[in-house]
């Protein structure tokens, strides 16, 4: 009899691998991005099996909920011609094969290293209790400086990205909502008192004995 966990694990592992294959095999970039989303969700499931609930939730929250949404946002607006992307496939193939072999060799070297397995064993053993709290207490005490350094680096990256892409267009009209809200009726409407000239004689229909309409057009 299978363990329930192993069935769930194989389900998520199959989903992750097939979605990851989908990312690189489909020709439509939107499908590729959606497959990547599926791969993220499935790997979040695997992390949940390892009791790493914080990592799993943050993966879904940050990568699926924000990063991939922006990715899709950009991809959907780009006018991507798949034929031009395929040009020069045979010319670049040798380089691609060399890089692929290099990556494969690196992965095999890491995975066959006996040190690697022992590290994984220790990590999953430490993650069994309330690891969100544990992660927070370690991150803000022991690893405070690396953590702050990483956040400052990210901030610099944000500032740089904004500085590179920000352009002020001259002829756009911008309305400040604060001034818009502060307007008073007197700024918009000027009430003018008009001097009356000979007032019209109105009479109600019941008093109208002559049968004439009392209002001129």
């Amino acid at each position: 009899m299978f363990e329930f966990e192993s069935i769930v694990f194989y389900f998520f592992a199959f989903l992750t691998l097939s979605a990851a294959l989908g990312v690189i095999l489909v020709s439509n970039p939107i499908y590729a991005a959606l497959f990547l989303v599926l791969a993220f969700v499935a790997s979040a499931g695997i992390w949940l099996l390892l009791y790493a609930e914080f990592l799993a939730m943050v993966l879904v929250l940050v990568y699926v909920g924000a990063v991939m949404v922006l990715f899709l946002f950009v991809l959907m607006m780009l006018d991507i011609n798949i034929d031009t992307l395929r040009e020069g496939f045979w010319r670049y193939l040798p380089f691609a094969v060399i890089i692929a072999v290099l990556f494969a060799a690196e992965i095999i070297l890491v995975l066959t290293n006996p040190k690697f397995t022992s590290v994984v064993g220790d990590a999953s053993a430490a993650l069994t209790d309330d690891n969100t709290r544990a992660l927070g207490s370690v991150l803000y005490t022991e690893y405070l400086y690396p953590f702050e350094l990483a956040s400052v680096l990210l901030l610099v990256a944000i500032v740089a990205a904004v500085a590179l892409t920000l352009r002020r267009r001259i002829n756009t009209r911008y309305i400040n909502p604060a001034t818009q809200v502060q307007t008073k009726p007197t700024d918009r409407v000027r009430l003018v008192s008009v001097t009356k000239e000979s007032p019209l004689q109105f009479s109600s229909p019941s008093n109208d004995k002559k049968g004439k309409t009392s209002c001129p057009d």
Binding site: E53, M57, V58, L61, G65, V69, P177
Partner: protein, 352 residues
């Protein structure tokens, strides 16, 4: 758990070792149905309430013909939508077009698994409940994006782009507001957050120390659910019906259900995080006789009424105003209040 044991015993001769699984599975299914079925009923009657309330605000009558006082109107509407044809655009993407409403509804329902209705009454009492809710609600945007793209229509596409930008923007302010809640309560578990608000009166709930966050969270919630005045993703006066313009019949109805389920979810979360969940407003005689779930539902109803009230009161925001409010007002405000709460909690003046 009683059902669990009973089913296991019943199935033991047929399934052997797998009977325990089947027992757990059936037990879970029953609990899920016990949450989803009343929720769907609430959604149906929320549409009725919306039409009646907005009708009253606008000095109209609203639906009053089907059943007594129009009470069968939602059922008539559902039947009508069931019988209508689902049209799939010829040049659109068939598969994505069909699963988009399902994703929308899934994201609206999945977060209910961690919502505590009263003490101990919760499907999954996980210790990172708040994170789970945040992650689950962030999936909802995919329904809108995929629908807009798969429809192969310009209006739907503009609606989906607007919605994507808006939801991503407001999620940041929402996340920061939640950070202050978990600072004040010291837990990510939703039951523990409610228990941290326990006290003699409603003044011990988190809405008071976190008042700006309460406002930011609720307004961001209105923006996240694409409700008026943030409904530019639908924008019926400019882009027809936005992302669901190509949908008809049941496919449209599922989007509709998802929107209303999301409204109820945001109201439930606001209640749990800021308005003390199932806690009574005064912890003495007549008030604490009322069961907790009743107070919980009462508070949700009040917030839902606010949703409807906003819709009838405010004109739709212009798109640049939405972005201005989200990025330049809410996010700085939440960051400042984060620091204020952090400093406040270190002083003896913190009473919560």
């Amino acid at each position: 758990m009683i059902i669990d044991a009973w089913v296991t015993e019943l199935l033991l001769p047929f399934l052997g070792d797998y009977a325990a699984w089947a027992g757990t599975f059936i037990d879970l299914m029953i609990k899920i149905v016990a949450i989803v079925l009343p929720l769907m009923l609430c959604v149906a009657y929320l549409t009725y309430a919306e039409r009646r309330v907005i009708g009253a605000i606008q000095l109209r009558i609203g639906p009053n013909r089907v059943g007594a006082k129009g009470l069968l109107q939602p059922i008539a509407d559902a039947l009508k939508l069931l019988l209508k044809e689902v049209i799939i655009p010829a040049e659109g993407n068939r598969f994505l077009f069909v699963i988009a409403p399902a994703i929308s509804l899934l994201a609206a329902l999945i977060a209910w698994s961690v919502i505590p209705f009263s003490p101990e009454v919760v499907l999954a009492d996980i210790n990172a409940g708040l994170l789970f809710v945040l992650a689950a609600t962030s999936l909802g945007v995919y329904g809108v994006i995929i629908a807009g793209w798969a429809s192969n229509s310009k209006y739907a596409f503009i609606g989906c782009l607007r919605s994507a930008a808006q939801i991503v923007s407001y999620e940041i302010a929402m996340g920061f507001a939640l950070v202050t809640v978990l600072m004040a309560s010291g837990s990510l578990n939703l039951s523990a957050i409610v228990n941290a608000q326990a006290g003699a009166t409603f003044l011990s709930w988190f809405w008071l120390p976190l008042l700006p966050m309460f406002v930011v969270y609720f307004i961001s919630g209105v923006a996240e659910t694409n409700r008026a005045p943030f409904d530019v993703a639908e924008g019926e006066s400019e882009i027809v019906a936005g992302f669901h313009v190509e949908y008809g019949g049941m496919a449209f109805a599922i989007f509709f259900l998802a929107e209303y389920a999301n409204m109820i979810l945001i109201s439930a979360l606001t209640t749990l995080l800021f308005l003390g969940g199932w806690l009574p407003p005064f912890d003495f005689a007549p008030f604490n006789w009322v069961p907790g779930a009743v107070w919980f539902i009462f508070k949700i109803c009040f917030l839902l009424f606010c949703f409807l009230w906003f819709r009838a009161t405010f004109p739709r925001y212009r798109y640049d105003q939405i972005m201005h409010l989200g990025w330049k007002i809410f996010i700085p405000l939440t960051i400042i209040w984060l620091i204020v709460v952090g400093l406040w909690m270190r002083t003896p003046l913190w009473l919560w």
